[in-house]
């Protein structure tokens, strides 16, 4: 017993030996304390990430303040002049207003219509992704934490959900529910929650195996606290990546549905509907009605995807340089 204590003290006092021991026990690199905050910083220092962020922020601001920026309220039929229909970009109206991006077949200023359409598209995208995220995360957490039959049940449901093409599911749902912003959000949530559930379950299974979860159980904390306070916050990095990508996907899916004429009502055009409206006049040479909303949609989706891509690189330890 005394041998051992003196042995311990001897090794402690010798600095060389201590250094050797420290070198031998080289630990793996430690994760940053605030992975999300440091990830945002790293996204912004990357040129492509910065471009994506700028695009997304500009688009968000434009959508948010559309009613101030836009020269015309495209939803107010009283201010629309049917005589101004299908004017090419840069033409002037009878009232003296310049249509920089031209007008559509209803005589709407396309620039204003795009700003308002952007607002609808982004709102639908974020709302549906947000609701799907909450539902999917809860399902994934329940699945991972309780395991067994619950897990099997939830995951088979996810498998079934994912085996249907999302556009088909959305089409069927909208055919039943009818048109409207709320209905399209429901349809998008139904087609998307499964992705979140699967992501959260995977991450939660990893976290559940870690010692701090055992520790929390040993501290007799209730399951609700263990899952919501301990496991879920540690699952956030992969979840954020999926959520970003899914917002872009929801926007494009909504545009597709609107293009097909089953998304939003014609009186409140989203980007997809604007493209669809212009489609009829494409071959008559009135290209601007489709092309400008298309470019806006493209920029938005590319911007979100650039941010998402970069976030994935930064948050995934496997891709760390």
């Amino acid at each position: 017993m005394t041998d051992m204590t003196s042995n311990m003290n001897a090794s402690g006092s010798s600095e060389d030996l201590a250094a050797q021991i420290a070198a031998a026990n080289s630990f793996p690199p430690e994760p940053p304390a605030r992975p999300i905050r440091s990830a945002i910083k790293r996204v912004l220092t990357d040129p492509l990430g910065l471009v994506g962020t700028v695009i997304v922020v500009v688009m968000l601001l434009a959508a948010l303040f559309a009613h101030w920026i836009a020269p015309q309220n495209p939803y107010d039929l009283a201010v629309l002049d049917i005589l101004d229909n299908r004017l090419p970009p840069g033409s002037e109206s009878f009232s003296g207003m310049t249509y920089w991006l031209g007008t559509d077949d209803q005589g709407r200023d396309l620039y204003s219509a795009i700003l308002y359409g952007l607002r609808t598209s982004i709102f639908v995208g974020i709302a549906s992704a947000g609701i799907a995220l909450v539902i999917g995360s809860v399902m994934g957490l329940i699945s991972a934490y309780f395991g067994g039959r619950t897990d099997t049940l939830v995951m088979r449901l996810v498998d079934i959900q994912l085996s249907f093409p999302p556009i088909l599911v959305a089409l069927i749902l909208l055919a039943i529910l009818g048109q409207g912003v709320d209905k399209i959000i429901v349809a998008l949530v139904v087609t998307q929650w499964a992705y979140y559930a699967r992501t959260v379950r995977g991450a939660a299974l990893v976290e559940r195996g870690r010692t701090y979860v055992d520790a929390a159980r040993c501290l007799a904390l209730p399951s609700r606290m263990v899952t919501m306070n301990h496991i879920l916050p540690n699952c956030l990095p992969p979840l954020i990546v999926v959520a970003t990508m899914r917002v872009a996907y929801a926007v494009s899916l909504e545009a597709t549905l609107s293009f097909l004429g089953i998304g939003l009502p014609v009186t409140e055009p989203s980007l997809g509907l604007l493209i669809s409206n212009g489609n009829k006049y494409m071959l008559s040479g009135d290209w601007w009605i489709s092309v400008f909303p298309g470019v806006a949609l493209l920029l938005l989706i590319v911007g979100i995807n650039l941010v998402g891509d970069r976030l994935r690189d930064v948050l995934n330890p496997k891709f760390k340089d």
Partner: protein
């Protein structure tokens, strides 16, 4: 430091039956079984032989821990010592048997009363970094459970946490830092503070010093001993490091393939190891006195716990194995006062 009135109360409670153990592990068995999935069930329906794979991680283990006692639990990797530690700490449930805390079964019941007992048994883990939530500031890690279970009134909480941290040698002004900003030894101190904040009676240390370097190990072990004097703590010290166990334990329990093969007071067990497995295990501990002796490793490998040998699990590797050892499981029998061993050799006389 507990307030005087509480200390007196504790003494009054403890005094009538000083001999009654704090914790009794009563014929605890833990089996891990791979449940047949749908395909396996279907195959079984169709007449395929059922292939049930069961691991007896802990097989009918019984021993007791008294107040202020340090019990060392040793054995090779995979012998079930960690599983037993987790069962005692309430992280895992026994398949059979009971865990009695002051005579009350804590393993199978639920509800308010048992949760209170459950809190009296806390655990310290091997990997101090992994055992702390990386997103919690350490102040929150230490106080979360104490706050949830209202160990002290809310207005005294900050003071309580500060005191516990100080006692464990953590600067209370670092409460706002994250676990990765501390060294390994400091993290382990935080883990100890977290357990201590709930005022436990028994602390299960699962290889608690194995991941620390030797000088830090000594510090942490000294901390354990100081805390025992302060709070009358008992420890279940799960470790493969026989040197450390010998240094700190009052009693030692030796496990092999899920079964307890020998237990006794540290002095007795190290002086007169009875079971051939214990003898072999002790002969492998390096010592300063016999620096150049060759290692007599235990011959053979640890058998798969999926297919443990019949009779005495140790017989394929035992130098004294007899025919009886292959057939009959030896039970724990007293070989001296407070010293029990499970070996047929003791019956031969």
């Amino acid at each position: 430091m507990i307030s005087n009135s509480e200390k007196q109360e504790a003494q009054v409670k403890a005094s009538p039956d000083q001999q009654a153990p704090l914790l009794e592990i009563d014929h605890v068995t833990r089996r891990f079984e791979r449940k047949p999935d749908f395909a396996a069930k279907l195959a079984a329906r169709l007449g395929a032989p059922i292939n049930r794979r069961t691991v007896h991680a802990v097989d009918d283990a019984s021993f007791a821990i008294h107040q202020r006692e340090v019990v060392g639990l040793v054995g090779e990797s995979g012998c079930g010592k960690s599983t037993l530690g987790r069962i005692v700490a309430g992280i895992d449930d026994p398949t059979e048997g009971r865990i009695l805390y002051r005579g009350q079964d804590v393993a199978h019941a639920s509800g308010e009363a048992t949760r209170k007992f459950h809190l009296k048994i806390q655990m310290i883990f091997q990997d101090p970094l992994d055992s702390l939530n990386p997103r919690y500031r350490i102040g929150k890690s230490v106080s979360e459970a104490a706050r949830y279970h209202k160990v002290v009134p809310e207005e005294q909480m900050a003071e309580h946490i500060e005191k516990v941290l100080l006692q464990c040698g953590v600067d209370p002004t670092t409460q706002n830092r994250f676990p990765h900003q501390f060294s390994g030894g400091q993290r382990q101190r935080i883990g100890i503070a977290r357990a201590l904040a709930l005022r436990p009676d028994l602390v299960v240390c699962d290889e608690a010093v194995a991941s620390l370097d030797v000088s830090i190990q000594a510090q942490i072990i000294n901390l354990f001993m100081d805390l025992r004097d302060e709070y009358d703590l008992a420890y279940l010290f799960v470790s493969h490091d026989i040197g450390v166990v010998r240094h700190i334990s009052d009693r030692v329990v030796v496990m092999y393939l899920g079964r307890i093969v020998e237990q006794g007071t540290t002095a007795e067990l190290f002086a007169k190891p009875n079971h051939p497995y214990t003898q072999a295990l002790l002969s492998e501990v390096p010592s300063l006195k016999r620096r150049h002796s060759s290692f007599h490793t235990i011959k053979g490998e640890i058998p798969s716990p999926l297919k443990p040998p019949s009779g005495c699990h140790f017989h394929p590797r035992c130098p004294h194995a007899m025919e009886r050892c292959k057939l009959e499981r030896p039970m724990l029998k007293a070989v001296a006062s407070g010293h029990m061993s499970a070996c047929h050799l003791n019956d031969e006389g």
